[in-house]
Symmetry: C2
Subunit: 231 residues, 2 copies
DNA sequence: ATTCCCGATTGAAATAAATCAATTTTTTTA
DNA sequence: TAAAAAAATTGATTTATTTCAATCGGGAAT
């Protein structure tokens, strides 16, 4: 991990995320004092599940895969985080242990904010806290959706959900799927790599998707939605 | 659902939950103006997944089962909520749709707080917001644990986790398991009722638990923890 | 260019758990 | 109290999906 401290540029100029507009000058100063810019190369870990979390990460540039591990070799990929979003915000409270691991899917630029600074600002600035609460709500909501999906659907549905998620507008046209190996796609769907490979072929045969190398093009989104709904 | 409005008693006297101590008189007044007391009989629904959520529920007395549904007949039970805890707080933001259903395991007394009142107080009172954030952190953390469990463990581990959770100190000695049917226990473990029944028998034979009618006594908690860890 | 290695692919076998079907027990209702 | 309904139990069967084993292919290193 290469740490490149950047004290010259102005914090507020860099960060135009909505929630930072809410800070007073005092709070900006507090955060400026406690943040550090860091680069992560593709494949490097931003957080590691179970390790002590003393800071929160805010993504400035790049894509990050968030996943949970079973300790052994199995992972389950939860989401792809992009610029303007936090990683590790959960660890602010309670045990200060990261609940999940995160690795860079592309070269990624983040800044680290001391937990203490975030906590202080949350306590002092209701509007900022409100945005943090909003973040949690969304995260938790999406966890509910994920959990329900995992509990009630089977392979077809899981893979359909994965393809829909990874090809959604959320990533502003970036081709996230092409950044992933078959194994990683399988880990998003929560199925074995072999199952993912076979099922992708089946989807291709049914003209739901087109496969070219690592690229996966969605040919029939409606049908994917249908498969997702059926479960 | 029987709605019993109770405007006589004093809000603050009733509610000694930590987060309400943080409110200013103004805020208490705001909340007092927008809350309604309601009784739910055992088995009644406090929230129904997918319905519009205009208020948040705060449990004053009783036990509530929170679960997600698949639309059909299958449920997955997430947690048991007790007095002093919120239900439906998630719906404050975003779509205002309950992400989960909740039903009373015992006769339950709650009060309903208008979403708008909660939002206003969060925005104005950083310390209160901080507590709400804490609530979300805990909820999300436990979702991560649940999700990891569901993804990586199998039946034994699921049932062990369920028994450990339901017999934990969290419920102050209340015998939660006895309130549940076999089907409901299975729904906590995320396995079929038949599997739960068979596995409970096996645990009994291995002297990990004792079964008497609906009562389940934990004889060997360490072994359950071991089974939970093994997965 | 050739070898090596890792990821992708494919089919066959194994397996965990669900479903099904039948019976017993418990609870509710009349 | 008897009858009916619901829940629990049990064993047999089915099924979805994983695991295993073997092969293929493309890029990196030599």
């Amino acid at each position: 991990m290469k740490t490149i401290v950047d004290t010259d540029r102005d914090f507020v100029c860099e960060i135009d995320a909505p929630c930072f507009q809410l800070l007073t000058e005092e709070e900006v100063a507090l955060m400026r004092g406690s943040r550090t810019q860091v680069f992560f190369r593709k494949g490097e870990n931003l957080t590691k599940q179970g390790t002590f979390a003393s800071y929160v990460l805010f993504v400035i540039e790049g894509l990050v895969k968030v996943y949970v591990e079973d300790g052994g070799s199995r992972n389950f990929n939860l989401q792809v985080v992009r610029k303007g979003e936090f990683v590790g915000l959960l660890a602010i409270f309670g045990e200060s242990i990261y609940s999940y691991s995160a690795t860079a899917l592309t070269d990624t630029r983040v800044f680290l904010v001391e937990k203490a600074a975030i906590i202080k600002i949350i306590q002092n600035n209701g509007m900022f806290a409100y945005h943090i609460v909003e973040h949690y709500c969304k995260q938790t909501s999406s966890m509910f959706v994920t959990l329900r999906g995992m509990m009630f659907k089977q392979m077809n549905g899981h893979l359909a959900d994965t393809l829909l998620y990874l090809s959604s507008g959320r990533f502003e046209g970036e081709d996230v799927i092409s950044l992933l190996s078959r194994k990683e796609i399988a880990e998003f769907a929560g199925i074995s790599t072999e199952s993912a490979v076979k099922l992708l072929k089946i989807f291709e045969k049914e003209e739901i998707i087109r496969l070219e190398e690592k690229k996966v093009s969605i040919l029939n989104r409606d049908l994917l939605v249908e498969i997702s709904k059926r479960g």
